[in-house]
C-alpha cells in the first residue's frame, strides 16, 4: 500500500476544511491534537487543529489531503507537513483582501520548504463581494505561470478541478525534468 499526500494551505477561514470535506471519503474532523517539540525547553504543549481527508485510488494507492493550521506560529508544523508532498494548494478567500498578504507569505514559505508544483485557489467566488480573478492575480503578485483557479469549496466539481489542475502541473513538471 502506497500513500501520497497533498497539502491544502492558506490563511485562517479561507475554506481549507470545506475544500477537503468536499472530496474526502472520510469525515473531516478538525483534529485537536496536543503536540510538543523536543526543542521546547519548557514542557509545554500547543494545541493544533489539523484537518485531513482521504481519497482511496485503488487497492494499492491512497491520497491524503492535509489542511494546515493557518497561523504563522505553526510554521514548524508546515515543514513537517510539506515533507514529501506531491504538491500543494494555496486557498485564498476572494472576498477578504486583508488576507491576501498573508496568503502570499504562506505561499512563499511553502515554496521554500519544497520545490513542488502548486496552484492557488481563489475561493468563495460565489460571494457577491469576491474579487475578480485577474485582480487577485495582481494583488497576490502571482507569476503568470502559476495557475490561479476560481473555486467554491462547497462545490465538489470546482474542488475536483483545482486538484486536477494541480495534478496536471505535477505531470508537466515531471515532463519538463526530462522524463525524470
Amino acid at each position: 500500500m502506497q500513500t501520497v499526500k497533498m497539502v491544502v494551505t492558506g490563511p485562517f477561514n479561507a475554506g481549507k476544511t470545506e475544500f477537503i470535506r468536499s472530496v474526502s471519503e472520510i469525515d473531516v474532523v478538525s483534529t485537536e491534537r496536543k503536540i510538543s517539540t523536543e526543542s521546547e525547553r519548557v514542557k509545554e504543549t500547543t494545541t493544533v487543529a489539523m484537518d485531513f481527508g482521504r481519497i482511496t485510488v485503488d487497492e494499492d494507492l491512497v491520497l491524503y489531503l492535509f489542511g494546515t493550521p493557518g497561523q504563522k506560529r505553526f510554521d514548524f508544523m508546515w515543514e513537517i507537513l510539506s515533507e514529501g508532498m506531491l504538491g500543494f494548494v494555496v486557498m485564498v478567500d476572494s472576498a477578504r483582501p486583508e488576507t491576501f498578504r498573508e496568503a502570499r507569505s504562506i505561499l512563499e514559505t511553502f515554496r521554500a520548504y519544497a520545490p513542488t508544483p502548486y496552484v492557488v485557489a481563489a475561493n468563495k467566488q460565489d460571494r457577491e463581494d469576491a474579487w475578480e480573478i485577474d485582480d487577485m492575480r495582481i494583488a497576490l503578485r502571482l507569476d503568470p505561470k502559476i495557475k490561479l483557479l476560481p473555486c467554491v469549496a462547497t462545490e465538489k466539481e470546482m474542488v475536483k478541478n483545482v486538484l486536477l489542475e494541480l495534478l496536471y502541473s505535477i505531470l508537466a513538471d515531471m515532463e519538463s525534468k526530462g522524463g525524470g
Partner: protein, 277 residues
C-alpha cells in the same frame, strides 16, 4: 464582481498598483473618516479627481493655480456661471486668456494633489466602479500612475509592514517587461537610482544594499516603491541553488521513486480517480 475593501487591509498604494497593472477604467470611491474622494481612471491612467464637496470648477482651479487674477475670477464666476468646464476652457483659450497646456497642467496638479492626500489615509472604505466615469462636462487628463505610486510608497516607513512586503532580502530583482515600465519615465531620487543601477537577476537585494551601503530599512523602502510602481519584479537569484528537497521517507513518496514511468502512472491514476469522484 466587486473590488472593494478597507484601506486598513488593502492600501491606496496597493490599489493604484492594481489599477495601473490591470489598466483599469472606472472610478475609485474612497470613504474616509472626514471626506469622500472620487478618483477616475482611464486605461490605468489618472483622469479626474474630486474631493468631498470642494469647488471643483475649472474657474476655481485656475484661480487657485494663479492662472487667473482675482478680478478675472470674479467676472467669470458671475458671467460664466452656467457654462460647462469644457465650454469655458474653449472660451478662455479662444480669448487668449490662457493656453490649453496651462489648463491641463493646472487640472493635473489639482487632481494629483487630491490623490497625494489619499496616500496618507490609513482608514476608509473603498470600492471601484467600472461603470462610473467622470461627469461629461468635465475636462479630464491622462497621468501615468507610476510616479504617483512611487511618491506615495515613499511615505511608508514602518519596518514591520515593509518586512511583510519584502520578507526575504536574499531574492533578486529584475525589470518588469511590461509596456510602459520604462525607467526613463520615472522621477527617481538619487538613492533610488543607486539601487536601479544594480538591478539584475544575479544580484540579491542584500547584495545591492551592501554595494550601496544602505541599511535593511532603506533598501526595503526603495525596493517597495519600485515594486509597487510595477517597475521591478522579484525573482529567484540566478545561479542560486533551488532549496534542497526535504528528506524522503522510503516507500511513501513518489518523487523519490527512481522510475519516472511509475511516477507518471501514479499521477495518472490519481487524475483518473479524481475525475471519477
Amino acid at each position: 464582481m466587486a473590488l472593494k475593501g478597507n484601506l486598513r487591509d488593502y492600501t491606496i498604494t496597493h490599489l493604484f498598483r492594481l489599477i495601473n497593472l490591470a489598466q483599469k477604467t472606472g472610478t475609485l470611491i474612497v470613504d474616509g473618516p472626514n471626506e469622500k474622494v472620487l478618483v477616475s481612471f482611464r486605461e490605468g491612467k489618472l483622469a479626474y479627481a474630486q474631493a468631498g464637496q470642494e469647488d471643483n470648477s475649472l474657474v476655481t482651479i485656475l484661480y487657485q493655480a494663479k492662472k487667473l487674477t482675482a478680478p478675472q475670477y470674479r467676472a467669470l464666476k458671475e458671467r460664466a456661471g452656467n457654462m460647462s468646464d469644457k465650454e469655458l476652457g474653449l472660451l478662455l483659450v479662444n480669448a487668449n486668456y490662457i493656453n490649453q497646456q496651462d489648463i491641463l497642467a493646472s487640472l493635473q496638479n489639482h487632481f494629483v494633489a487630491i490623490v497625494n492626500r489619499l496616500f496618507t489615509w490609513v482608514e476608509g472604505f473603498f470600492r471601484f466602479e467600472s461603470d462610473l466615469l467622470p461627469p461629461e462636462d468635465k475636462i479630464t487628463v491622462r497621468v501615468n500612475l507610476e510616479n504617483i505610486i512611487i511618491e506615495g510608497a515613499r511615505q511608508l516607513h514602518e519596518l514591520e509592514q515593509l518586512q511583510d512586503e519584502i520578507p526575504n532580502l536574499d531574492i533578486a530583482l529584475k525589470f518588469a517587461d511590461r509596456p510602459g515600465a520604462n525607467i526613463r519615465n520615472f522621477n527617481l531620487s538619487m538613492d533610488e537610482w543607486q539601487v536601479v543601477r544594480y538591478i539584475n537577476p544575479k544580484n540579491t537585494i542584500r547584495q545591492i544594499a551592501r554595494a550601496t551601503k544602505m541599511s535593511d530599512l532603506q533598501i526595503r523602502k526603495i525596493v517597495y516603491a519600485l515594486l509597487q510602481a510595477g517597475l521591478v519584479e522579484l525573482v529567484r537569484p540566478e545561479g542560486a541553488p533551488r532549496p534542497a528537497p526535504p528528506p524522503q521517507i522510503a516507500g511513501r513518496i513518489p518523487v523519490s521513486q527512481p522510475n519516472p514511468e511509475e511516477q507518471r502512472s501514479l499521477i495518472n491514476r490519481l487524475i483518473n480517480r479524481i475525475r471519477s469522484l
